[in-house]
Symmetry: C2
Subunit: 240 residues, 2 copies
């Protein structure tokens, strides 16, 4: 099944007022298509892996796909080796990345997606770990992973759930933009694509397209940030 890299990187699993993955279900159906029958689900980002897998399974069955939880397999690496498609769900990014390393599947997922063309869907934390590193996650560092380097399916970073400043807030914590600016004060840091809730990035080979209903904001070290509308061609991000 060798083919070009195919990724669907979703900002958020649930959009306000909707159910789990409702807002992107048409994108999911279009992305996995009719050839995929079973999706390997990685529930490592949440504590209760069985309950999380049931949530994903129930949703994906309504779209015509069977779901296998990677934690249900006797050998996680073997499960990745025979996967038709992979979906890594959201939750805590640190817990997720640590579990990916603990189960030794980071490089095998990378190989399957980049060499074998296995379609990869990520949501929230599952989108973070698909990039160069988890340096731009919003999550609390509840566990210590052996590295912040991630699967590296794209050569930039993503900030999911990207949030504009609230002008009425009295809270003095840093805005999201300030946090990403702090990241870019560090040397040799890559672009960060801020995906607002409701947006997602579709990557097919060397073509990247912004999908969904909200705009995205791109942060490049040493340059002003830029807004992109849904439908924008962001393929240039793949050639850095």
């Amino acid at each position: 099944m060798a083919g070009p890299r195919r990724l669907l990187l979703v900002s958020n699993s649930t959009l306000h007022g909707g159910g789990y993955l409702d807002h992107c279900q048409q994108n999911i159906s279009h992305f996995f298509g009719k050839d995929v029958k079973r999706v390997l689900f990685v529930p490592y980002a949440l504590h209760d892996r069985d309950a999380y897998t049931k949530t994903a399974r129930d949703k994906f069955q309504t779209l015509g796909y069977e779901v296998d939880g990677i934690h249900e397999a006797p050998d996680p690496v073997g499960a990745v080796r025979k996967a038709e498609a992979i979906f890594i769900g959201g939750g805590n990014t640190f817990r997720l990345l640590k579990s990916l390393y603990d189960n030794k599947v980071v490089s095998e997922i990378r190989r399957r997606v980049l060499e074998d063309g296995v379609p990869y869907m990520g949501s929230s934390a599952g989108t973070n770990v698909s990039t160069i590193s988890i340096n731009t996650t919003n999550d609390m560092p509840i566990v210590y992973p052996p590295s912040f380097s991630a699967i590296g399916l794209v050569p930039f970073n993503i900030n999911p759930h990207y949030l504009d400043p609230n002008p009425n807030s009295r809270h003095m914590g840093e805005t999201r933009e300030q946090r990403i600016t702090q990241y870019h004060e560090e040397p040799d840091t890559p672009c960060v694509l801020g995906l607002r809730e409701g947006s997602m990035l579709l990557v097919e080979g060397n073509k990247a397209t912004l999908l969904g209903t909200t705009k995205a904001r791109l942060f490049t070290r040493g340059k002003p940030s830029v807004e992109y509308d849904p439908g924008s061609d962001l393929s240039f991000l793949l050639t850095h």
Copy 2:
């Protein structure tokens, strides 16, 4: 100058509508008192250490204290060894902790505070690094420290800038309480004191008192969270 441990752990450097450290300046004066003449300031949490030290110096001079920036000293460990008092300012907690390790001052600060009774003030990130670990920071993991273990001046963790859920928000990222709950899903995790902006913890030997103008919320693994009013005696946190 041996004496009991003395800590002033402030949630936030700036309160909405006020200037830098304005909201806690009386607490600072009372904490350092008249015996302290010079405060060793650690500006590692922000990128521009000179500018940050100037901000701290200007403020502390109005309170009658001279400030030395640790990065101005030829030998940071030596600067800690001869410090009369230490203040670690806020910014990015990951950058701060990594710099503390890079400069090999973590254990020396611990020794000076716990063995020599050198007064320690922290604000925001400087409060995070004074606890067991930085596992409950709110900051973006822009750099990878060699450990999340921190200076360990108290046997619990703190979440600075603690924030109540906003019932009007449509944003679907986890609330602060959900994040701390995820931390407590991990085994053997300590109490987390959520310090709202405007609050601070004063530790004198084995006595801990909540100061400031806002309540704090205490999260204990496996138990309901509890609210504490300013003035509350939280000494029990020191004996876990």
